[in-house]
C-alpha cells in the first residue's frame, strides 16, 4: 500500500468572505464554518476564533485538535467510517494543510480537557502553539447529555477540518513525501537482511468518554488487529477522548504519528517496518489479558524481531502496557515502550502503576506531575474557570490575575506518549 502526502504549508490564518488558500495563508469564512457547526441541532450557537503562534491567547478547555486533510486520489475519504464511507484508505494521494489545525473546545466533562497557550511557558510544552488554529467554541443546547455533547463536538471538528481540507484539493503541494508498505512476503524478499519491526499502538478505550474510534468502530469493542501505517495518515483512527490532556492522543497526533513517520524514515535502511498492530486499553481484566495475548500472537505470527509499543493515558493502562511488553518479550521479540510518568511533584515516586523486568528499554514523555506556572494572557478562548477542576489543577490553581499554577498534565499534548514533543532533559 502506497500513499503520497502533499504538504501545502500554511503560515497564516485570517477570516475572509470566501474560504481559500493563497500564498500560504488560510482564509476562512466564519459564516460558512458556523453554518457547518449549526447543522447539528445539538448546538444553539457557535463562535469561531483564530489563535496564531506567539499571540497572547489561552485556549481552554481543549477537547481535540485536528489537521485539515483531503483525499485527492485513491479510494475513500478522510475519517472513513466516521464522516466518509467505510472504504479502506491509505493509498493514492492526500493533501495536507500543514501548519493549520482545527481546535474544538467545550465544557464536556470540565476536568478532563486541556489547555493550549499560544505564548509563554505553556506554549513550550504543547506542539499546538506552533500552529495556525481555527478554534470552535460550540454552545450545546440545554440538557444535552455529556456523551451526546462529546459526539456532537467530535463531529463538528471533523466536518470543519474536512471543509478546510477541501480547499487544498486542487492545489499543488509545496512538498511531497511517499510512504509504502509491502506485503509480508514481498517485504521478506526485498529486505532479507533487515530486522522486522512493527509498532504496537495502544488506543485509549476505557469508556465513559475515554474512547478511540477505528473506521467508526469503538476500539473497546474490537479485538487487537492490524493496519497499514498509511491508513492512519488518512484518518482511520480518531480521538473521542475526554481524558487527562497531557498524554491523550488527539486526532492530530494520530494523523501525524511520529513513531510511524520515524519507522518509515528507517524503513529499508536499518529495519523493515512491517506494519501497525492496534490494541485497546479496556477496564475489565479479561479484556486486558485477551488484547495483550493478541498483540503478542500477531507479533509472533508476523515473524517480528522488534516491536515499539506506545501507551495512551496513565494509571490502569500501565498494566496493558506491561502486559503487551512482557508477553511480546516472552515470544523472543525485543520491545521498547514509550510512556510518561506520574512520579509526584518532586519526581521521586514510582513512575508507573505496574512494572516488569522485561520492560528494560523505556522512553518517557516526561513527568506529568511537575508543577508549572502559566502567566495571565490577554485573551482566553473558552472558559478559564475550569482551571481549578481540570486534571492537574487544584483548588486555587486559577489566580485572581488570570495566571495559573498547575501540574503539567493540564497542557494538551505535554507528555505525549507517541514521543511527539521536542523537550528533553539531561
Amino acid at each position: 500500500m502506497k500513499l503520497e502526502l502533499g504538504y501545502v504549508f500554511i503560515k497564516d490564518i485570517q477570516f475572509a468572505e470566501v474560504s481559500k488558500v493563497e500564498n500560504g495563508t488560510l482564509y476562512v469564512s466564519k459564516e460558512e464554518v458556523r453554518k457547518i457547526i449549526l447543522e447539528d441541532q445539538n448546538f444553539i450557537s457557535a463562535e469561531v476564533e483564530l489563535a496564531k503562534p506567539g499571540e497572547s491567547i489561552r485556549i481552554m478547555p481543549v477537547k481535540d485538535v485536528i489537521e485539515p486533510r483531503v483525499k485527492v486520489d485513491g479510494p475513500g475519504g478522510i475519517f472513513p467510517g466516521m464522516v466518509n464511507k467505510v472504504e479502506t484508505v491509505g493509498s493514492g494521494k492526500t493533501n495536507v494543510l500543514k501548519g493549520a489545525a482545527v481546535v474544538t473546545t467545550g465544557k464536556i466533562v470540565g476536568f478532563q480537557e486541556g489547555i493550549i497557550d499560544m505564548t509563554g511557558t505553556g506554549s513550550e510544552y504543547t506542539p499546538f502553539s506552533k500552529l495556525n488554529n481555527l478554534v470552535l467554541v460550540c454552545e450545546p443546547k440545554e440538557g444535552l447529555k455529556q456523551h451526546e455533547h462529546e459526539k456532537a463536538l467530535r463531529f463538528a471538528g471533523y466536518k470543519v477540518a474536512l471543509y478546510l481540507g477541501e480547499l487544498a484539493r486542487s492545489l499543488t503541494p509545496d512538498e511531497t513525501e511517499t510512504f509504502e508498505t509491502l506485503s509480508v512476503t514481498e517485504g521478506i524478499k526485498a529486505y532479507p537482511e533487515l530486522p522486522r519491526v512493527a509498532y504496537v499502538l495502544m488506543l485509549q478505550s476505557q469508556g465513559l468518554m475515554h474512547d478511540t474510534y477505528v473506521y467508526g468502530v469503538d476500539a473497546k469493542q474490537s479485538l487487537t488487529t492490524m493496519l497499514y501505517p498509511t491508513e492512519i495518515m488518512d484518518g482511520a483512527i480518531v480521538s473521542g477522548n475526554c481524558v487527562s490532556a497531557c498524554d491523550k492522543n488527539t486526532t492530530y497526533h494520530h494523523l501525524n504519528n511520529p513513531v510511524v513517520h520515524d519507522l518509515f524514515a528507517e524503513h529499508g535502511k536499518t529495519l523493515n517496518f512491517v506494519g501497525v498492530i492496534i490494541t485497546n486499553e479496556n477496564v475489565y481484566l479479561a479484556d486486558k489479558e485477551r488484547s495483550s495475548n493478541w498483540s503478542a500472537k500477531l507479533a509472533e505470527f508476523l515473524g517480528l524481531d522488534g516491536v515499539l509499543i506506545s501507551q495512551e493515558g496513565f494509571g490502569n493502562p500501565d498494566t496493558d502496557l506491561i502486559m503487551n511488553c512482557k508477553k511480546i518479550e516472552t515470544k523472543g521479540i525485543k520491545t521498547v515502550i514509550i510512556t510518561d510518568e506520574y512520579a509526584g511533584r518532586d519526581g521521586s515516586s514510582q513512575s508507573l502503576a505496574d512494572a516488569d523486568a522485561s520492560a528494560d528499554a523505556v522512553v518517557t514523555g516526561g513527568n506529568a506531575n511537575q508543577v508549572i506556572e502559566l502567566p495571565a494572557l490577554d485573551k482566553v478562548i473558552g472558559y478559564s474557570k475550569v482551571a481549578d477542576i481540570i486534571a492537574g489543577g487544584f483548588d486555587g490553581s486559577l489566580h485572581a490575575d488570570g495566571s495559573i499554577t498547575a501540574e503539567l498534565q493540564v497542557i494538551t499534548g505535554a507528555t505525549n506518549e507517541m514521543g511527539f514533543n521536542k523537550l528533553s532533559a539531561r
Binding site: Q206, G207, L208, V283, Y284, L285, K288, N316, D318, T319, I322, M323, A353, D354, A355
Partner: protein
C-alpha cells in the same frame, strides 16, 4: 488485602491477599445487571474478602473463588 480489578498491579505493589473484582469503574457492581443481580455479586465478593482475611497465607495469594 486488596479488592481490585487489575490484579497485576496489586501483585506488583505487594498485596498479600487479593480478591479480583468486576471492572475499574465499577469494582463491586455491574450497571448492565438488575439491582438484585448486583446485590448478589456484591454479597459474594464481600463474603470472599472476609474469608480471605480469615485465611492464613504464606505468600501473595489471589482468591479466585
Amino acid at each position: 488485602m486488596h479488592m481490585c480489578t487489575v490484579v497485576p498491579i496489586s501483585l506488583t505493589v505487594g498485596a498479600n491477599r487479593i480478591v479480583p473484582t468486576i471492572a475499574i469503574p465499577h469494582p463491586l457492581g455491574n450497571p448492565t445487571l438488575t439491582l438484585e443481580e448486583e446485590r448478589d455479586i456484591r454479597r459474594n465478593l464481600v463474603g470472599r474478602a472476609l474469608r480471605a482475611l480469615e485465611t492464613e497465607v504464606t505468600g501473595q495469594t489471589v482468591f479466585e473463588k
